[in-house]
């Protein structure tokens, strides 16, 4: 495995862990892998520390980009990719595992809606509102 691939795994795991810790502190139940907030926070901390220890324990991380290290631009790209994958993974997994969570009436207020619903439910609800609004506006201003 190359250093770039290992770095990507590190970012993915650490971002997943941070999402669990921050979602449990923010009370965003719809983003938790496990229903219990304390267990989720503990799982997040284990993921963060475990990933950091795995990455740094083997040593040999201080390498120039000409000798197997990662250049600054690539490092940024790997971080963005790893963070995006972590968000996507968290949103998909929690939307599936918490599927039976009943959607609340008002889910248009962003992250706070994830206290009661899953990301998938909240997003589809908001996109539904946007679609209805678009249809109403286009009907109102159409010449036909």
């Amino acid at each position: 495995m190359t250093l770039g691939q290992e770095y990507l795994i590190l970012v993915f795991l650490v971002c997943c862990g941070v999402l669990q810790v921050s979602a449990s502190f923010g009370g965003l139940k719809g983003l938790l892998f496990i229903g219990n907030r304390r267990f989720s926070a503990a799982l997040g901390i284990v993921m963060i520390l475990g990933a950091l220890m795995w990455f740094f324990w083997s040593g040999g991380r201080n390498l120039p980009d000409t000798g197997g290290g990662i250049a600054g631009a690539s490092q940024f790209a790997y971080f963005v990719l790893g963070g995006f994958l972590a968000l996507l993974f968290t949103f998909v997994v929690t939307s599936l595992t918490n599927f039976n969570r009943a959607p609340s009436g008002d889910t248009t207020d962003g992250l706070p809606s994830l206290k009661e619903t899953t990301f998938g439910q909240a997003l589809s609800h908001n996109l539904g509102i946007a679609w209805k609004l678009y249809r109403r506006l286009t009907r109102k201003y159409s010449s036909g």
Binding site: L10, V18, S22, L52, G110
Partner: protein
């Protein structure tokens, strides 16, 4: 100017002379000085602040700080690149005998790019949350010290990097105020998509 450079070199040599005193301390410094540890920790702090607050008003304040800090990283990077076009300072190990705990980089020593980036992130957060921002500044100080200790930067390079990081945030904050309501609308759009 000559005197300033001389004092800078003397402080550098004094700090770098501690290398080898404790093998455990050197090992810890090698972890901290890495290109990956502090930048990754700072980036995930931004991610955590974006999501992790129960109070909506405080969360929005954090999200604005994260937007400011995150965007300032790009501005700080550009400022460092522009600075490097006009002024190139050789690394300490190029001209003097040092104990090196890091690989020898080939780019300009002044201003310290990693410090400019981490200070930009810390300042953005500090604008929104003084306590976490101060903790990040302590992290930057440790990072900067470890880079000097490891023999890759002079102390003035670190100070220069820090000034660039702070300037980038101040500049961007003025821009954000001027282009308001664009940042607010961006935040609302992201909120509509349940990301904020």
């Amino acid at each position: 100017m000559e005197t300033v450079s001389q004092i800078d070199t003397e402080i550098f040599l004094w700090i770098n002379s501690w290398v080898g005193t404790s093998l455990i301390f050197d090992r810890v410094i090698q972890w901290i000085v890495s290109d990956y540890l502090i930048p990754v920790i700072f980036s995930v702090v931004l991610l955590g602040l974006w999501f992790g607050w129960a109070d909506q008003a405080m969360r929005e304040r954090h999200q604005r700080g994260v937007m400011l800090g995150g965007a300032s990283v790009g501005i700080a990077n550009i400022m460092v690149k522009i600075s490097n076009v006009f002024y190139f300072r050789h690394r300490p190990f190029d001209s003097i005998d040092v104990s090196l705990l890091f690989y020898p980089p080939t780019d300009s020593s002044f201003p310290a790019n990693p410090i400019a980036i981490t200070v930009a992130m810390a300042t953005g957060v500090w604008m929104a949350n003084r306590r976490i921002g101060t903790l990040m500044y302590i992290g930057v100080f440790v990072y900067g010290f470890s880079r000097v200790y490891a023999g890759v930067f002079y102390p003035l390079d670190v100070v220069g990097g820090a000034l660039i990081g702070i300037s980038a945030v101040c500049l961007l904050q003025i821009v954000f105020k001027r282009i308001e309501p664009v940042p607010t609308l961006c935040l609302r759009l992201v909120r509509f998509l349940c990301f904020a």
